[in-house]
Amino acid sequence: MAGAAANSSFLQNLGRIYSIYTGTFVGFVIFLGILEFFGVPDRILGYLFIFLTIGVYALIGILSRTAEVSEYYVAGRSVPALYNGMATGADWMSAASFIGMAGSLYFGGYDGLAFVLGWTGGYVLVSILMAPYLRKFGQFTVPDFCGARYGGNAARTLAVIVLITASFVYVVAQIVGVGIITSRFLGMDFKLACFVGLIGILVCSMLGGMKAVTWTQVAQYIILIIAYLIPVVIMSAQVTGVPIPQLMYGQALEKIAGLEKTLGVAKGHVAAFANARGEFDMTSAVNFFALILCLMVGTASLPHILMRYFTTPSVRQARDSVGWSLFFIFLLYFTAPAYAAFAKLEVYQNIIGQPISALPAWIASWGKPGLALVGACDAANAAQIFPICTGVQGNGDGILQLSEFRIHPDAIVLATPEIAGLPYVVAGLVAAGGLAAALSTADGLLLAIANALSHDIYYKMIDPNADTKRRLIISRVLLAVVAVIAAYVAGTLGADILFLVSWAFSIAASGLFAALVLGIWWKRAGDASGVWSMLIGYGVCMFFLITTEFYGPALKSMLGDAVTIVNARGRQVAYIWGINNISVGIFGIPAAFIAQWVAQKFSAEASPEMQDFIDSIRVPAGDVRLAPGMAAKE
């Protein structure tokens, strides 16, 4: 009882608690700034940032420990819309968003905006098609819904398989992100850094499950958004005189367009659907829209996001919460293009065409071995100073040409504090923000995987009589096991695997979207149709994913001219009709819809009881009228 009272006073005082938390964090940053002023070395500041923030997450995780099943799986359904929005924001924005996206925009220009659009617009689909109805259904996991809607264990198992494939691929990419940040800021070996990050992830989620992850993610959102906005706001003030980067980077874009002419860049930063020569290119347009579709539909199918809307107190709040989620995500995503523009302006204006001896200090500090994120590759032996220059042939005239400048995408966000001449403490803040982004996403994903294994496979299918204590122990053990496997895979595969994130979206979109949407919106869809939908959607997506990635030549001999082999991110990949294999969902999503429709033609309609059940989840008020054979509500 004491616990329940403490819990309700916590929920009533959320605003105050998180305001105090934010104030303390700002105070902490200022305090570290003072330490820096008095000469405390950068490395110590880096350690303080990383370990103190992880310490806070761990503390929240321990304070939120729970022995109740509903708190462990759905945070007791007590998370208000606004806070669930913040938690979803942190759950959503991964290392790829925080560090990688601005870099994609720097290199891709307009093309990179497919990520900005694709990772926001899907929430409209979540809002109108999914979240309120899944919340009303009111059980614990997404496979729970598939199992109940499509009559049992076949559907449940398929949903679990899709969930685990998509989430595992995604979580490996997150641990890589944690490894990159930890190894850069602590100078640790990458593999070791992956396991250090793992500890950070586990302390947040092991003891308190969804409840702990929720309140940690709110804390992580606050840190990541402060860390993302501060450097670019200051940069905007320096370059344009107005500290609103999202409005002012229009000026930077204009200057970039002017400099592109001088430097002879054919494909402009803002040019839409252009090839390298700056001409209109149909393949590039097709890829742009294919990627948007896969990312948006994937958003509305990823179980670690959908399960966040199981935690609100009501259907109404689930709907409001989708709006808040997107708002909090929007704050970061509409800032990312500003990062890219200001960084590009800096490079074009103050780096290219300068004598090597007169380059700004950040080039040397981010280019040195160990970091190797930028390089001025003019001299013949440049690769000795800048490892990133390996393979680049400079002309050795002492002046840096555009073709001699190398920059890694991750450097755009990480190096901005230094480009803007800010103290090291801001760089540390950015590292803490990136870490918060990667950890929060990894937490949500691992929990989704472990819950599917412990709740859907173990409890629902293997031992329905297991008691609460046993179920929670199994959950925690599985969580730790999955985390260790993911960290091992991340450490082994290495750093350049961020395309995994886009695959996760295609896999989830192909396997789950049709079955979930039609399950709610097509009342007559019977058991078999849902099973076939998931099976075919997932199968088609995985077939194209695996063949394009690993068996390019064989696919080419089979399909002929439709296939081209392309070098991308240091590997050879097959593109079918010019479509990048990160958008394989473009084949899987329609396949799932067609399969469900065709299967429905040849199989029984949903029973009247099932249709009554669907009516009951379409309306916010009233009981969920479970059809016979569905498990009892807990």
Binding site: L117, V124, S127, A252, L253, R316, G323, D615, V619, P620
Partner: protein, 88 residues
């Protein structure tokens, strides 16, 4: 407040809900795809230094998405209250 809807009420309720869904889905499609088909032409127009095609993909559509989500929430709440099936 809450009650089980009759067959006709359920149909009317779901009719209104579906209409709202399709309206927002159409707007979603417009802001996700249609407007960007014209990006090369829109880029000829400049606002505050932003080429309009670029602006729509970098900010304009995003703002529309946020508004669509909140609009859906409030419009659906009105429908729920009209039929007396809100769960709060």
């Amino acid at each position: 407040m809450s009650k089980k809807l009759s067959q006709e009420e359920m149909q009317a309720y779901w009719g209104k809900t579906s209409k709202l869904m399709w309206t927002i889905l159409a707007l979603w499609f417009f802001f996700s795809f249609v407007v960007h088909f014209f990006a090369p032409s829109l880029n000829e127009i400049r606002v505050l230094g932003f080429p309009l095609g670029f602006y729509m993909a970098a900010q304009g559509s995003l703002i529309a998405f946020v508004i669509l989500c909140f609009w859906n929430a409030s419009a659906q709440n009105k429908i729920d209250e009209e039929f007396g099936v809100s769960d709060e």
